[in-house]
């Protein structure tokens, strides 16, 4: 009985050791470090194997796009707020439909802009990585669904 227990412990130790070794071997430590720091740019750099020059070019593209992004954000926020206020005050269905169309138009404009931006970023990546980047992110852009209550603050 003691021999069987000893053998079982040996087998168990071998299994645990193998699990630990394979976990360490297969782990992407750079990816995990970026996740722990919630640093998306660090992730972009390691995930898509960017050189310093490529990373700098992409950082500049993001910086330039942030101005346009802020404009879209304000436009979408105000359109949603307008719609929320109209819904709250019981505006006619035709008015609500127009305001909903307005929100949809602004969101579509944002989607087109971000799609164009992602394609520019992809073009700055190494061959093959740009396609992978678009495959990972474009479906998320396309499948976006609005969540949460629309803001009623127009000044943000």
């Amino acid at each position: 009985m003691k021999n069987l227990l000893l053998t079982f412990l040996l087998v168990l130790a071998a299994g645990v050791l193998a699990a630990g070794a394979f976990f360490c071997w297969q782990s992407d430590n750079a990816l995990h470090a970026a996740a722990q720091e919630r640093d998306a740019m660090k992730w972009l750099r390691t995930e898509f194997h960017l050189s310093d020059a490529q990373f700098a070019a992409i950082a500049k593209l993001h910086k330039d796009y942030s101005v346009e992004c802020a404009d879209h954000c304000v436009a979408i926020g105000s359109a949603r707020a307008e719609l929320a206020a109209a819904e709250k005050s019981g505006q006619p269905a035709a008015t609500l439909a127009t305001l909903r169309r307005n929100v949809a138009d602004r969101e579509l404009a944002c989607r087109m802009a971000i799609g164009a931006h992602l394609r520019k970023v992809a073009a700055s990546m190494p061959p093959g990585e740009g396609e992978r980047y678009l495959q990972l992110l474009m479906p998320r852009i396309e499948n976006y669904t609005h969540r949460g209550a629309p803001t009623v603050r127009l000044d943000e």
């Binding site: 299994g15 971000i114 949460g148």
Partner: protein, 106 residues
């Protein structure tokens, strides 16, 4: 063969043994017991060599698979979270959502 007429019981009663004291006796006994125990496990392993090797191989393969699966699962979770964080920084619709949520909490 005993040819003496003296009764055997009397001879036995007068028989005295005075063995020399051995200070290493206890240590030697434990060492022999340990050796016997080691031999028993080694013998057990030899006796069940095929089953033991199969169990070891199975444990290594299963452990390796589990470790690899855990590493891939963690990478997928990290990637998912980072992609979401990345888009939250550049997608105006998500930024507007987040702002609305922040205002709703306040």
């Amino acid at each position: 063969m005993n040819t003496s007429r003296e009764p055997l019981s009397r001879v036995l009663q007068s028989w005295r043994i005075a063995p020399p004291g051995d200070p290493q006796f206890r240590t030697a006994v434990w060492a022999r017991l340990q050796a016997a125990r080691d031999t028993r496990w080694a013998a057990y392993m030899r006796q069940h060599a095929a089953a033991s090797c199969a169990a070891l191989a199975l444990a290594v393969v299963a452990g390796g698979w589990l470790g690899q699966w855990q590493a891939h699962r963690r990478a997928a979770q990290d990637r998912e979270m980072l992609a979401t964080t990345y888009l939250a920084e550049i997608d105006a619709r998500v930024i507007a959502d987040n702002r609305a949520e922040t205002h709703a909490h306040h």
